[in-house]
Subunit: 386 residues, 2 copies
């Protein structure tokens, strides 16, 4: 690690995107004496509210991008759906871009991501690229059903996905995605879903937060549980796969790998399949803020600034529960009731409008065991509706 790679406290972090991930990065950065500028089309955004400067312009406004980059010492991203030329512009200005544009380019497209993983020899669900109804029919014939057709381009929280129960569903599914480039994936019956949030430094150092278990509801993350209730062997294997992904992609920053844990009905062997990558902090890592020595956001800061990665010891078993806009259906949630539930930490993102399904905040409960933490988290969330 050369000193020229180090972005010292007092410097300015430029972040593209302005959601809650940028907000929590900003708070970690402020605590360590950094400044934060954010760029996105939005105003009074979750990140902008806590940033030194909020630039509101379309990502396609390349002059605005150039002007923004001149005001910062390092560029990072809080979501991967930024046009790759934004990264190129920053790079061309001589400002370090971490992770690099190739990482965004790969992760912002499901097809490129799957092809990268498969070519790297990493375990993924069987899939096929689909560019036409004919290609979809032949992919269904080859992979079987049930299967899931997903747009190749960015989607999240279950958006841009259609389930196929049999070959006859093909025309409707193809039409539902509007004929966009897509991939078909075999539907995998999994035992559980886990993720590994990890970081890689400028010097190649690697650090991780272990395996975190994720429970989804209506395709949106509902609960994360750390440590995950999987065998030590499965957790260790997941961490090694995350390390392999970060090394092969040459990521500087934080990356989350989401896995399906499957179980062979005959042998009982557990197997890991990579479902998705996110080259940034991830919703499932929010519990690191309260439960780990270093949060995923401080880790992102350290990694992109070329600082040594932080200690990732877990201080207490923890469960994170997302707070969606649905909780506001009958008015303001009962915050005092939830905060009276003991070892509960509340995080709210400053979003003005509470739409159903919108991530408004989360809470993390700590406990002596994950079971205790889960009881506390669920009691606190129930109390919000009381």
């Amino acid at each position: 690690m050369t000193m020229t790679n180090v972005i010292l406290p007092g410097s300015t972090i430029g972040v593209f995107g302005s959601g809650q991930l940028g907000r929590m990065l900003a708070l970690a950065a402020r605590a360590m004496g950094y400044r934060i500028h954010t760029f996105s089309p939005d105003r009074d955004s979750p990140t902008g509210q806590v940033a030194d400067r909020e630039i509101s312009a379309p990502y396609a406004d390349l002059d605005a991008v150039r002007a923004f980059v001149r005001t910062v010492d390092v560029v990072t991203f809080e979501f991967e759906n930024v046009a790759a030329n934004v990264a190129e512009i920053a790079q061309a200005s001589g400002v370090p871009v971490r992770p690099g544009g190739w990482v965004l380019h790969t992760a912002q497209n499901r097809r490129r991501e799957k092809e990268f993983l498969a070519q790297a020899g990493l375990p993924v669900t069987p899939f096929a690229a689909v560019d036409s109804l004919e290609a979809l029919r032949s992919a269904v014939a080859r992979l079987g059903c049930p299967a899931v057709l997903k747009t190749a381009a960015f989607g999240y929280d279950g958006k841009g996905q259609v389930r196929l129960h049999g070959p006859d569903d093909a025309p409707e599914a193809w039409a539902a995605l509007g004929g966009q480039p897509a991939i078909l994936e075999t539907f995998v019956p999994f035992v559980c879903e886990i993720s590994v949030v990890a970081a890689r430094g400028v010097d190649g150092a690697f650090a991780h937060f272990g395996a975190i278990e994720n429970i989804h509801r209506h395709h949106i993350l509902d609960l994360s549980i750390a440590p995950a209730r999987v065998s030590p062997a499965v957790a260790a294997r997941a961490v090694e796969l995350a390390r392999a992904v970060m090394e092969k992609l040459d990521v500087i920053g934080v990356l989350c790998v989401e896995f399906f844990v499957t179980k062979d009905e005959v042998t009982g062997d557990e197997r890991l399949l990579i479902n998705e990558l996110a080259p940034r902090p991830h919703n499932s890592g929010h519990l690191t803020i309260d439960a780990m020595m270093t949060s995923q956001f401080e880790q992102q800061l350290r990694a992109v600034c070329g600082l040594p990665l932080g200690d990732t010891t877990q201080l207490r078993p923890a469960v994170m529960a997302n707070l969606l806009g649905d909780l506001w259906a009958d008015g303001e949630p009962n915050w005092p009731a939830a905060l009276a539930c003991g070892a509960v930490k509340l995080h709210l993102y400053g979003k003005a409008e509470a739409r159903p399904g919108r991530k408004m905040g989360h809470l993390t409960a700590l406990g002596e065991t994950v079971e205790e933490a889960r009881r506390t988290a669920e009691a606190a969330r129930r109390a919000l509706a009381a």
Copy 2:
């Protein structure tokens, strides 16, 4: 607790003062979805950098104070040296002021503070009010030497204090303080210094972080160690005294009580004497951010917003080391070296100018024991100078 007393997330906290205590309060408030406005004579202040709005005006500009108060939902303070009429103005505007003006009035004057404590039957060092050289001479004759003459008005970090070794020092000491109203205190040979940082809610609920041990250097806090290395009985007694102070003063918010622990040379009995009060988060409580389930700043936020107080379980033994401006004498400290020291958390306050003795930041080390944490904290601070 009536709901009208509750200031909910999304509301705006108004803080008088703009130093690091306000900064860390602001970061805790942002995490929970609050807005922060700060009022002080300064610009680009530690608090202002992370606030939604920074008002720069003298505290004596009462029109500016009135305008400020109209923009916030609750008023609090990050230091106690604000003219009491500021609290009155806020109160008169119908905005809750927590803690109340009487708390500031008491704590901003050493003489009033001592008299309050003595009248409440709480243990303080023997003292005498001093308004003239004659009064000083007779106080010295009565209390004996060594003794310390302190200005009645606000002072901190050893400012406004003169040591008297014998009666002959009286004229020089009186002159050194410029003839201001003062108090003479017996110099207490103590075994160690401890503090209790505690919170009291709108409903009278009380929560504390246990006894924290403090080591000063040149009258400035150097290290804080939690838990303090005192007997459980002494720690419990300190907590009960802190509770008594908060109840008798009717404090809503966070308050720190600093104690001397003395030991009777003959009987070996340990005794506690209250040295000083601070009606706000305190430097010795900074380690709560990283070592406790709830930080002193989140606790302040919860208390002044009328929310239930947070769980104060300590997650790991911890040692906090202050980072003074002196560390910048030979240029920028070596941040990467310090951050490579393991379980170390760095906090910097965004102050531009590093003057000797100025508190620029702190670091907190966690460990399995306080000894391990102390070794880590001291190694990290040494590394800064390398």
